[in-house]
C-alpha cells in the first residue's frame, strides 16, 4: 500500500494520505476554511520534507476552494470585483512570499519562521475566536441580550484615496485596504502553505464590514487565485510541488469537504466558531512549542544546495 512520491522522494502509505486529505477536507467543509494550517504539520509528521509539504498542499487548497466558490457563486455569494482586487494583491504577496521562503530556506531558518508564524497567527486568531464565541454562548445561556455592536467602520478607511464602489459587498471604500489584505494573505500562503482564510474572513467582516453573505465566497475566490499562483511559483522556483502527493490529498479532500459542508448546517454558528477556535489555538501552540522545548536532536539537516 506504499507509494513512492517522485518529488518528496519518500515512500508513504497512500490510503493513510487519502484519509488525511478526507479528514482535513471534512474539517474545511464543516467550518468553511481551507484547512491548510492543519495539513502541513501532519504531513511533516508523516515524514514528508516541510518544503514539499507546504508547496504541495497549496494545490489541495486550490481544489477545495474551487468547489466552494462554485457553490457560493450559484447563491450570488461572491463579489468578484473586490475579490479581484484582493487577488491582485495576493499575487504580489505570493511573489514576495515565495522569494522570502526561498531565502529563509537557504539560510536554514525556514522552519523557525514557519513555527513563529503559526504561533503568532494561529495563536492570536484562535484565542480571539474562542473568547468571542464563548462570550456569546454564555450570554445565550444566561439569557442576556448582547450589547449593541458599534457598526461603524474605522474612520481611516475613508481617509484613503482611490475610492471605489463595490455594490455586492455594499461598500464604497478605498482600494488600498483590500490590496493590503491580499498582499498579506499571499505572503502567508507562501510561507505557511495556507489559504489565509482564517485571517481574511475576520478582516473582511470586522474591518471592512462587508455584507456577511458575500464574505466567505469572496475570500475563497481570492484564495484560489493566490494559492494557484503560489503553486506555480513554488513549482517554478523551488521545484517542491509533488503532484502525486497533492492528487492523493485532494481526491480525499474533495470527498471529505462535501460531507463536512452537509453536516455544518446542524450546529449553531457560535459553537462552530468555538470548536474551530480551539483547533486553531491547539495547532498554533503545538507548532510554537518547538521554540521553547529542548529538542531531542540539536542538529538538523537544512535543505538547499542540491535540491
Amino acid at each position: 500500500m506504499d507509494i513512492y512520491l517522485p518529488i518528496a522522494e519518500v515512500s508513504v502509505n497512500w490510503p493513510l494520505l487519502m484519509l488525511l486529505g478526507a479528514t482535513v477536507g471534512f474539517v474545511s467543509g464543516l467550518f468553511g476554511i481551507g484547512g491548510g494550517f492543519l495539513m502541513a504539520p501532519i504531513l511533516v509528521f508523516m515524514g514528508i520534507p516541510p518544503t514539499v509539504a507546504v508547496a504541495s498542499q497549496a494545490s489541495h487548497v486550490v481544489a477545495s476552494s474551487t468547489s466552494g466558490v462554485i457553490r457560493y457563486s450559484v447563491m450570488k455569494g461572491v463579489d468578484y470585483k473586490i475579490g479581484g482586487i484582493m487577488a491582485a494583491g495576493g499575487v504580489f504577496g505570493a511573489l514576495v512570499g515565495v522569494e522570502l521562503f526561498r531565502y529563509l530556506r537557504l539560510l536554514g531558518q525556514a522552519d523557525l519562521v514557519v513555527a513563529v508564524s503559526y504561533l503568532i497567527f494561529l495563536g492570536s486568531i484562535g484565542s480571539m475566536m474562542v473568547f468571542e464565541s464563548l462570550t456569546k454562548i454564555l450570554q445565550r445561556v444566561r439569557g442576556e441580550t448582547p450589547p449593541r455592536k458599534e457598526r461603524r467602520r474605522p474612520m481611516w478607511l475613508y481617509g484613503l484615496p482611490f475610492r471605489m464602489r463595490f455594490p455586492r459587498s455594499g461598500l464604497y471604500i478605498s482600494a488600498i485596504p483590500p490590496i493590503g489584505l491580499g498582499i498579506f494573505a499571499g505572503i502567508l500562503s507562501a510561507i505557511m502553505g495556507v489559504g489565509g482564510g482564517f485571517i481574511l474572513v475576520p478582516a473582511m467582516l470586522y474591518v471592512l464590514r462587508m455584507k456577511a453573505n458575500v464574505v466567505v465566497g469572496t475570500s475563497l475566490f481570492q484564495i484560489i487565485v493566490t494559492t494557484a499562483v503560489t503553486t506555480i511559483l513554488q513549482a517554478g522556483r523551488n521545484q517542491t510541488v509533488d503532484i502525486v502527493l497533492s492528487m492523493i490529498l485532494l481526491l480525499g479532500g474533495v470527498i471529505g469537504a462535501q460531507y463536512g459542508a452537509r453536516l455544518s448546517g446542524r450546529f449553531r454558528a457560535e459553537e462552530m466558531r468555538a470548536a474551530l477556535g480551539f483547533i486553531v489555538l491547539l495547532v498554533g501552540i503545538q507548532m510554537g512549542l518547538e521554540l521553547f522545548v529542548r529538542p531531542s536532536e540539536l542538529f538538523l539537516m537544512a535543505p538547499g544546495v542540491g535540491n
Binding site: D2, I3, Y4, P6, I7, E9, S11, S59, H60, V62, A63, S65, T66, S67, I70, R71, R102, Y103, L106, L107, G108, Q109, D111, L112, I224, A228, T231, I232, L233, Q234, A235, G236, R237, Q239, V241, I243, S246, M247, L250, L251, V254, I255, A257, Q258, E290, L291, F292, V293, R294, P295, E297, L298, F299, L300, M301, A302, P303, G304, V305, G306
Partner: protein
C-alpha cells in the same frame, strides 16, 4: 587544532595486490551482485540486493571479508539549534563536503577486529573514516543571492558536528555498519545483503569487497550499482525539473478541475 581530521585522500588502488594474473597460489576475492540496476518506480519502498562472492584461498590463513557500498556524494548543510533567551533558534548552516548520500559496511567480524585503526583509515573503510570535511577557512559563498558562510570557528565543536552528520544519516537509514553482515555459506563462498531505504539517493554506487588476512588487505574486488528512477516517477521528476513552470500550471489546472468535478458530482445529492 584540526588534528582529528582524517588524513589526505587514501590511495585506494595502492594496497590492492596484483590481481590481474590469477595463479593458483594467489589469495583472491571475486564478487557479483544479484541486481546491479535498482529501478525506482511508483511501488518503490527500498530495495534489498544480495551480493555473492568467492574467496580463492589456497592457504590456511583465516580471511575476513569487508563489504563497503558508497552512494553518490551529497553536500550536507547542517544547522544546530541553540538557545537564546529561552528560545531555540537555528545557527547559520555549516556545509560539509564529501559526505556520501549512502554508506554501508558489512563484514564477517566487527571492523576493529578485522584490521587496526590506521589501516582502516588509510583505506577509508568505516563510517568513522569517511572524509566528511568542512573547509578549515571561513569561506563565504553566495548561492541564489544568499550569503552562505560555509564554515567558521567550528574549532572544538568540529567533532560534534561531524558526529551529528553521521548520526542523522544513520537515523535516516542511509549509513549502516553491520559487523556480521557478511556470512560464509560454504568454504570460500560468502554472501551479504545490501539494503537500500526508499530515501536512498539516485545515481551510481560503488561497492568494494575487501579481503583481509592477519589485519592486512590482500585483495579487493570493485563493483558498481546504479539506482535510477524509471517509468512514471522518472517522467514526473524530469518534467518537474526541466519544465517547472508548465508543471506548476498543470498542477493548478488538475486541482481546479478536480474541485469543479467534485462540486458537479455532489451537487444534487
Amino acid at each position: 587544532m584540526f588534528q582529528d581530521l582524517p588524513p589526505p585522500p587514501p590511495a585506494y588502488e595502492a594496497p590492492a595486490p596484483e590481481q590481474t594474473v590469477a595463479t593458483a597460489s594467489e589469495v583472491r576475492v571475486a564478487a557479483a551482485l544479484t541486481d546491479a540496476q535498482i529501478k525506482v518506480d511508483t511501488g518503490f519502498s527500498g530495495a534489498s540486493i544480495v551480493l555473492y562472492g568467492a574467496v580463492f584461498n589456497p592457504t590456511d590463513v583465516p580471511a575476513d571479508v569487508v563489504l563497503v557500498v558508497r552512494g553518490p556524494d551529497a553536500t550536507v548543510r547542517l544547522v544546530k539549534k541553540t538557545r537564546h533567551n529561552g528560545v531555540w533558534l537555528n545557527s547559520r548552516p555549516v556545509v560539509f563536503e564529501g559526505a556520501p548520500g549512502f554508506y554501508m559496511t558489512a563484514s564477517t567480524r566487527p571492523l576493529p577486529d578485522v584490521a587496526d585503526f590506521g589501516q582502516m583509515r588509510r583505506l577509508g573503510v568505516g563510517v568513522d573514516h569517511l572524509r566528511i570535511n568542512a573547509p578549515e577557512e571561513a569561506t563565504t559563498v553566495t548561492r541564489y543571492g544568499v550569503r552562505d558562510v560555509v564554515i567558521s570557528r567550528l574549532g572544538e565543536d568540529y567533532l560534534d558536528w561531524r558526529r551529528a552528520v553521521i548520526r542523522l544519516k544513520e537515523t535516516a537509514g542511509l549509513y549502516k555498519n553491520n559487523p556480521d553482515g557478511v556470512s560464509f555459506v560454504d568454504r570460500g563462498l560468502f554472501r551479504a545483503e545490501v539494503d537500500l531505504p526508499a530515501t536512498a539517493p539516485t545515481g551510481t554506487y560503488f561497492a568494494e569487497v575487501w579481503l583481509f588476512q592477519e589485519g592486512a588487505p590482500v585483495s579487493v574486488s570493485n563493483l558498481t550499482l546504479t539506482v535510477e528512477k524509471v517509468g512514471l516517477e522518472r517522467s514526473i521528476y524530469q518534467f518537474a525539473h526541466r519544465n517547472p513552470w508548465m508543471y506548476g500550471i498543470l498542477c493548478v489546472f488538475l486541482a481546479a478541475g478536480i474541485g469543479y468535478a467534485a462540486s458537479r458530482i455532489f451537487r444534487d445529492r
